[in-house]
Amino acid sequence: MSDTAAHPREDDPEGAEEPAEGADDAPAADPDETPAAGAVSTGAESVVAALEAAGAETAFGVQGGAIMPVYDALYSSSIDHVTMAHEQGAVHAADAYGVVSGEPGLCLATSGPGATNLVTGIADADMDSDAMLALTGQVPTEFVGNDAFQETDTIGVTRPITKHNYFAGGADTVGDTVGEAFELSRAGRPGPTLVDLPKDVTQDETDETPGPAAPPAGTDPDPNADADAVEAAARAIEEAERPLCLFGGGVIKAEASDAARTFARTYGIPVTTTMPGIGSFPEDDELSLSWAGMHGTGYANMAITHTDCLIAVGTRFDDRLTGGIDTFAPEAEVVHVDIDPAEISKNVYADHPLIGDAERVLDQLTAAVREAPDAEAWRERCAEWKETYPLTYATPEDEPLKPQFVVEAFDEATDDDTIVTTGVGQHQMWASQFWTYTEPRTWVSSHGLGTMGYGVPAAVGARVAADNMGEPDRDVICFDGDGSFLMTMQELSVAVREDLDITFAVLNNEYIGMVRQWQDAFYEGRHMASDYTWMPEFDKLAEAFGALGLRVDDYDEVAPAVEEALDYDGPAVIDFHVDPEENVLPMVPSGGANGKFATAEDQL
């Protein structure tokens, strides 16, 4: 994978053959069993030794002056390095790597512009509670604060968007700091951490090998919820007439999808998910109502509106989910399971707060509920709503290709374990609405921050993760908008260089479509700055990068192009010219009531 470390150095044939001592027995989740790292001679070697000991396998990054000592130490490391075209690519790739693999992603950047280029992706990971460690170079300690060349106050800039950030104090301690930061990123509620590495700290000599990595005291909370609280919640669930599960991204992060499925099926409780929770529960299950929120299904939003007992697991009740708080699940007693006490009653008051690890608490709940709630009538009502408010779109012959059709075509052509990444916009919504997700960690998207440009680098990170996991046969599809694709498409060069088998499906509507949709709905159709008729020809661009490039304008070209791209062993880009006027529906207008979703434009 790596363009440096994986290949033996010519001048030092043993270089890559013999990774640092101890590197091979990593990873280990239990800090007590984590081996201490091998002998080191500089701060940078200590950094790399700590990463190896913590189990890091792949880093994404871009070289630069202040981070060079760390790169040099990576030269003979067992950790692969994927050089990205832009640091934003590195951070999104690391994020997606973490989402797919379940291990913290790792990205590197130099000081100043390298570090600031990471900012968007760190904020993105923070909003989505994705475990990730960012290592940034910094000017030597004696220059810090002097506006030195390529100096930025990275700690100050990233303080509000990290779980915690560290300024490395010295060569003797930097390895331990990096190990701690890596473990902290996944402890309790996951999130991005950052270690800022002044060049002198990584260059200085040290023979202090880092100890076993562990998160700081108090950051790995008790996984079990209070037993009395579980009992009380169980009684509320038993007595409910209209119970509903709401599974969020936390279910996936806690590897609680199996526990969640068991719980819902054991007691016959219908399930809706949040958008980050997509994949936690199979959308083809009878109990599934798919996902709720602004562009969620009508039936999920009807169920949320009418439930009398909402069992919410691992969700922070984002406003894209809740709409107006006053009309959110207005009749429901809320059981809220979360590892982060600060999420309890932050947005929606929790009648039954259950603080703990989603998997453990779901097991506790499954054991504590003695009798399934009497919800036959409710399940029927949910089924009726599914009939009444299906996801649909029109496909008349004389109209341009519908983007939803493209998503369905890919879904049909691929297996359940296919990984989907997206940019942000209408295409992201169609990719979540018209694809039937059944497995966790197959839906990789930017939720809380809504970052255009996430899709391409995320596909790179997802592909590398799947390959690392020994699953090269899984397909990775990136659904992107023309606007989003243009923001980070330089990472296509990385996909070509690394020969990554990814299919990029650009749903090209020559608009930044989601903006155009809002302008039509709320700004009387004034298309200020949303008209992207100057888009390049993406198929030709793909060829220029060395990828396979295809263009599709009509329905009957879809299937052959999908097949050709999937068969192609390497990156392929299909430029789908889709109906520019197509809108994402249903839609709950911002801050509106979930039950009042619009199914047609004139209802907005």
Binding site: K163, H306, E331, T392, P396, E397, A598
Partner: protein
């Protein structure tokens, strides 16, 4: 993909495309009941997300709370705490920081004006910060005090000294045109004193904000074991 796809998208008017099978029974968007035609529940929640009992009004009033946090005295800890408070738009009245009896620990005392859910959130969000060891609200009967420096016109020095004595203040500087006074005490006492000084014409004022300790044996931050001189504060976490 054209023609025989087995999905069930609806054919719309004139939609004889082979891609859109005719046997689709799913209602088109325009056939689905509109927003107002659907059943809607009666209940509501208030802005704090609490279900409103129609009988009991569930809006929360703001109140003043003193929050005390024991923190690791590492660089940037104050920036982390103040950044958190400003980012989340909490209504903060004062913030004081100082060392405790344990080397490497500081105490942050924050006075806030918030609703109960807001106060709860401040505590929980602060507790998430890595350098925060312990945080909690100090009960109502806490011992609180503030230091104020006050510069007034020196037209009538005798009267200024008299008022200063009345409030146990100290004169720190007296010149031909200004007199600078130091006052300490709880909020009510400071307010009274400031009222009394106003007659002389207050030129400048500097206030530290309230600091507080829980009364008697009660620990100020939860879990904190108050020590005496020479016996350091400890904390069981």
């Amino acid at each position: 993909m054209s023609g025989d796809s087995s999905d069930s998208r609806p054919a719309t008017d004139g939609g004889s495309a082979a891609d859109a099978p005719d046997d689709d029974s799913r209602p088109a968007p325009s056939e689905q009941p509109g927003p107002e035609e659907r059943p809607h529940p009666e209940g509501r929640r208030n802005l704090e997300g609490i279900r409103i009992d129609p009988v009991v009004e569930a809006e929360h009033e703001s109140r003043r709370a003193v929050i005390s946090a024991l923190v690791e005295d590492e660089p940037g800890v104050l920036a982390r705490v103040s950044g958190l408070v400003s980012r989340r738009q909490f209504n903060i009245e004062s913030l004081t920081v100082g060392p405790t009896t344990v080397e490497g620990h500081s105490r942050i005392t924050m006075v806030v004006e918030e609703t109960d859910p807001g106060i709860d959130q401040i505590e929980k969000q602060m507790a998430k910060l890595k350098p925060v060891i312990s945080v909690g609200e100090v009960s109502g009967d806490a011992v609180t005090a503030e230091l104020v420096l006050l510069k007034v016109e020196a037209d009538d020095p005798a009267a200024v000294h008299a008022v200063c004595d009345m409030y146990d203040g100290r004169t720190l500087d007296a010149g031909p045109r200004t007199i600078t006074v130091q006052l300490t005490g709880d909020e009510a006492r400071i307010d009274d004193a400031l009222d009394a000084f106003r007659q002389f014409g207050i030129i400048e004022i500097a206030r530290t904000g309230q600091t507080a300790l829980a009364r008697g044996d009660t620990p100020t931050a939860p879990g904190e074991k108050p020590g005496t001189a020479g016996e350091p504060t400890t904390h069981d976490s």
